[in-house]
Symmetry: C3
Subunit: 335 residues, 3 copies
């Protein structure tokens, strides 16, 4: 429990109303009760700020006039909310522990402050730094390095020689360092191209459940600092994801493609191989990137849905486009 | 082995032919032999009903005249088939067992009739109800609740405080309750938004292999009764999936979106965040939903493939659409 | 370390330059140093062949003139590279071992030359042939068969009665043989259709991380010899994937669809159910296949992205296509 004044100070904000008001937890504006704080960062929800039962609301200057509750006024309400939610819900740090069922190779170096959960497997030559948490059922292949304070939640598989930086947060069923998809056609069948590179992951990276990041074929696959990935994303071999880029669920980045820094990649987007995407590029959901993107900006090819019969009629017209264009040309000639 | 009469009675059907005919198993019409029963629910396969070696066929009235074998005539052949296949292949119920390798916290409450497989991990405060099967390598995080007769097949990860109803069937590599994807941009990098909500799953829900359902950021992510999900689906934080909705593989529902009841969502469909989709909506495969759908009906945006050279020509025309429209306007002015 | 002469002999190639030059490893043309060999198989990288510090380059005749280093000239540079990389990086074959923590049913038959890793679970009636490697945390359900020299890397779940051929390579978090997605609508809710078929996988199949292959509903799901699959792919029940077909990441093949032999399926492609795709078909990335493909060739429907504002204008025009077509018709009538 903290005073509104203290919370405001924590986020460089200004209090409107009762600075001594006590806040015990966060809530949505719609469901909040006395003692809770909500936030407004999306104007769709302005009506909720008017009606909320929250004791206080985190918001930006332009919305202050809609709020009858106490408020903390900040420049970036969502970031301020994140910090206040974190303050009110401190992560519970368990004492370091090595579960008796963990299989830890004799040559692995595990710092005393690291926690190793039940049924974890730590292979030969692994280095696990201070404060790391290896959750239940994680497998850390030989010669991997896991940097300070990284947290592998559960059931994560890290294949050999992968290097993970500090403060990584890796969710269940993630696979890092499986073989890249290298197949060479040899007369009448495919032969495997050995995948000899590794995966190198920077600091402060989050990786969502079920995501797969393949090892490089010769050089490494690289995820730079501060990259945040959602669930069920595929990163192909030798891809490079630039620092502070965010990728939403079910997107795929094919092999050898380089994504710039501070990019936003929407859900279900597909990015072909061997491309370069500049810094500061936004790719909206379900877009298909088939060539280099040289300039910052927003790029799209998702086709929003229509009622199915209408859609089918449009699609039939689309297939007539060549003919329609010829007919326009014919009309122009007759002028 | 049952008589055709008994099977017909089981599904409120009417026998045509030999009611005492003995049936031992189900088969496809194409591969059936004497003693087997097949079904016809898709008229594409009418020729197979004519030629089948099955002893009997489950079908609807309108197709009875094509069938020279014995038949069970019902209103809904596929549902009747499901019930008969279930009767002929009763699930083998193993006696309840706790494998000696399972790690079960002292404060977990596991009913005596529940089965816990090898290497399962059941954390503190978990409640596991009667008849539940927790397969090998499943992880049940602290304070989860697993309702009666639910079956977690194998290698399922349920993160803390998730609530699962009765008779759930959850396939391998599913992850429920991992952190939602909440990132706030703070000057030059992303900070994590704490994910404080849970996942609440109703009764009679099936979840396919590799699917991920994220926990809510403040309120809960909710999967209502009778929802059926295929493999590799992503459900974002705070989404709500209405009762008896079916979702096919590789579809994604982004955060805070509410899907109605009795919807059908096709494979590879992408549904953006913060939307509302009405009850009774069908979304066909590979469609992209970018705004609310207010009325029941079918919606599409999947573009069926053409021969690649033709497709590329159409795409070039598509990119000229603005120009084509201007040229039509110019022609109209000259009239 | 081998002489260039020996490497050339290994791939039926011809040396240009110093046949006695010693090669210790492979490298990319961009990063190679003395003692390393690179390859050129994509003319985008011709400048790299000019500038490389590699001691030798594997290339095809037409590019030989660009190369000032030693070279091995072959018909298929990528396949030759794969073979040379394999020769220079021989797979380390560990002595067969059964980890003490593996849970192996009394009725399972595991050949003495097979390796079983930590926390593997091998259920009743399983047969594991010579030279198989079952990695840590793999689960092999009852009555499965795993053919000679197959390698299940780690954390793979194989459900009961699956049959896997020789030399399979299966990456982490793969799930084979989970129930297909069979749901029958019964008045007001869905009932499960029992999934009674199995999965049968041929020889020399590779399956990428997180991929799911469902068991058949009545007959089997079949993956023929030499199929190579990337990560996070969904194969529905009763699908058949023809021999030597390659599928890239995040693609989905819905139930009962038959894909021919020697097909190439691009990333994020979606193939609807109950279709037939001929041999030798290429489906480019993000395409949607909604009807049978009867002839070999290349098929597409991926829409490459444009700058978002431009895209939205094109999309608006697309939705006017019906009206544009009517206006053209009206103009034609006035002629």
């Amino acid at each position: 429990m903290h005073t509104l004044e203290k919370l405001a100070h924590h986020v460089d904000g200004r209090v409107i109303g009762d600075a001594q008001c006590l806040i015990d937890s966060v809530a949505t504006l719609a469901n909040a009760r006395t003692g809770q704080i909500g936030f407004l960062s999306n104007k769709t929800y302005i009506n909720q700020v008017r009606a909320t039962q929250a004791s206080a609301v985190i918001l930006e200057e332009e919305y202050a006039r809609y709020c009858s509750a106490n408020a903390i006024v900040v420049k970036n309400a969502y970031a301020a909310y994140a910090k206040i939610a974190d303050l009110l819900n401190p992560a519970v740090r368990m004492p370091a522990e090595r579960h008796g069922t963990a299989v830890i190779a004799a040559t692995a170096q595990v710092k005393a402050t690291a926690t190793i959960g039940p049924y974890a497997v730590i292979e030969a030559g692994v280095v696990i730094e201070d404060g790391v948490v290896i959750g239940p059922h994680c497998i850390i292949g030989r010669n991997c390095f896991i940097g300070e304070d990284s947290n592998l939640v559960a059931n994560v598989t890290i294949c050999h020689s992968t290097r993970i930086g500090k403060r990584a947060l890796i969710h269940p069923s993630v696979v890092i360092g499986a073989d890249g998809f290298g197949q060479a056609y040899d007369a009448d069948h495919w032969i495997k191209v050995p995948q000899l590179g590794n995966v190198v992951i920077g600091d402060d990276v989050e990786i969502g459940a079920g995501t797969t990041i393949d090892r490089g074929s010769i050089d490494d696959t690289v995820i730079e600092d501060g990259v945040k990935m959602d669930n069920l994303i595929q990163i192909g071999h030798n891809a490079r994801i630039g620092a502070h880029t965010v990728i939403a669920a079910l997107a795929g980045v094919a092999g050898s493609t380089q994504i710039g820094k501070h990019c936003l990649i929407g859900g279900c987007a597909g990015i072909a191989g061997h491309l370069k995407v500049a810094d500061g590029v936004t790719i909206t959901g379900m877009s298909f990137i088939a060539k280099d993107i040289e300039h910052a900006g927003s790029y799209s090819s998702g086709m929003p849905a229509e009622e199915s019969q209408h859609w089918h009629r449009l699609y039939v017209r689309f297939k007539q486009l060549d003919e329609l264009a010829r007919r326009i040309k014919a009309l122009e000639k007759k002028e």
